[in-house]
Amino acid sequence: MKKRYYILISIILVLVALWVFYFSGWEPIFINLILINVIAYLVRKPLFSLAAYVFKRRFYRAVISITVNAVWSVFLLWLIFVISAELFIALISFMIIAISLNFRNIINNIASGGLLLMSEQFDIGDLIETNNTQGIVKEINLNYMKIREFDGVDLVLPNSNVYSSTIIKFTHGKFKVFKPLEKEEFEKQKYYRRYLKTINKIIAAKIKTTKYVKQMDILGSVDPENFEEHLFKVFDKYEPIFGKRPDYSVDATSPGRVRINFYIISEKPQLVFNYIDAFLRDLVYELYSDEIFLGWEEYKQELLHNIDYEKKEGNS
């Protein structure tokens, strides 16, 4: 509200309050409630300004603002109740229905969050794709989910959006296959309970693997004869980084290009997250080295020559 309107309304309210107090002759409770409401309205704004000055965080300011408004609402409703009980009941029932109709969003979010947490579809640290976003799950709350995208930016998604949409899980659990105990070993352990414990351990040892699929279009300029050789060179480099050798398959061909699916497999999704772009860089530098490094040597020589020249100039 503009300052002049606020001042005008304040003056009118003060005059009304003075008239009510000295000349109205109404019931004391009615007079008191009018005075309280006028004071509450006048005090609100300075109080908010003071809160904004004292507290830098929005959270504290919001708490103060909501508390002050809630207290004022109580007195306002009380005044309406004193004026007319029917009007008060009508207003209350109206507000209950209007607000509860909108609470369905919140309840929907909380229910979706609960279901996501209980169903254990994915965990913190898993690499997933949902709502056209790929990233690592950082936080699952009752209201929302936080995903960190490949470029390190955090994304906040309402739980209901995640629950109601398709989820692609690049990270998923599999049971680690243990070798069964040899007969001699079994006899050595003697106790059946101990063996049972080992079996439980095997079942509980849920190892997660991340298999990230990156679809890329390769142009016809790449020689198909040496294609695999180039890829394997990069795969060899990244095998020790990811812990598993990357793989590929041809997905589709179209005039002048071929679509390749690259499979990057690792037990740690964070490794895929950190090294995928370096892997892509090495692939593109390997496959298109002729085009990419075209004129680079000459350019580099020229640069070095210029640097030498500048040095000589500086010395002289």
Binding site: R58, F59, A62, E86, I89, A90, L91, S93, F94, M95, I96, I97, A98, I99, L101, N102, F103, N105, I106, N109, N131, T133, N141, N143, Y144, E149, F150, D151, G152, V153, D154, L155, V156, L157, P158, N161, M216, D217, L219, R257, F273, N274, Y275, I276, D277, A278, L280, R281, V284, Y288, E291, I292, F293, L294, G295, W296, Y299, L303
Partner: protein
Amino acid sequence: MAIFRTDLEALIYVIIIGIGLYLLNRIISYSIERIKKIIPAKKNKVNFIIRLISIIVFIYFLIEGFPSFTAIPAEYTVIITGAISTALAFATSEIFSNFISGILIWIMDPFDIGDLVKIKDHKGVIKSITLTKVIIETFDRIIVEISNSDILESTVLNYTIKLKDIENYYRFKRQIQSPQEIGNARLNLDAFDGKMGKKQENELRALHKLVLESKDSVIHAFTFSMRFPYERFRIKVHKTDKLCDKYKEIFDFKPKFHIFNYDSDIHVKFRILTLNSDKLLNYQTDFANDIYKIIRNL
């Protein structure tokens, strides 16, 4: 106690009052239209208020005027009041939706004033957060007001990093480093040596010093992508790197870039780190324009 004595009298008076209010409204709006000193926005406001007051007055006479309304037993009055309230609540529930969403956003706290965000394809800096809407200033210098209920249904991308424990350099480094920096996805890897590594570390330490000096534990990490042709890409990478050196002075930290996809072109993503989101609004478009010149000029 009703205002009028009989229902017939009330009906006649209510009709007269209705017509009178309608005519009064027309006369007032006609008169206001003729006064040139009043600006159109104020004319609209005055018309709106007068119409609202007229409707309230008419409803008052309608309810309080008919004697038969006061003769309705109390239990029927309660039922009618409840039914009307419910109907009104259903009809106006959308208005309340923004308030409720505002409260939920306040609880979720996905962003703060000054944060650089992307909401519903609008990238920009948050200028204001109210109980009903969020105001964003975009890179095109346009003010976008997004209702809270829209925000609640959409995905929010926050480019602002809220730093914790900024005194500790290594913790600071962990928080601001992108996965590509950890994975060393730099494009001039063939020219990368120990000297450059040391330079990079010094740049990070200088940024850490700046953050400590500013005492504001917030940093904006904005990303955008550009497409480069395959031909002479390495030379363009070198030129872009030099350009990033130039923009280091503007953004507080040298922008970084990496490949994230390729098809007919190479898709390169740029990451700008800055302490002031307004610098992004002012200079990001210039930076993108300079990169475009490098892409085109060879």
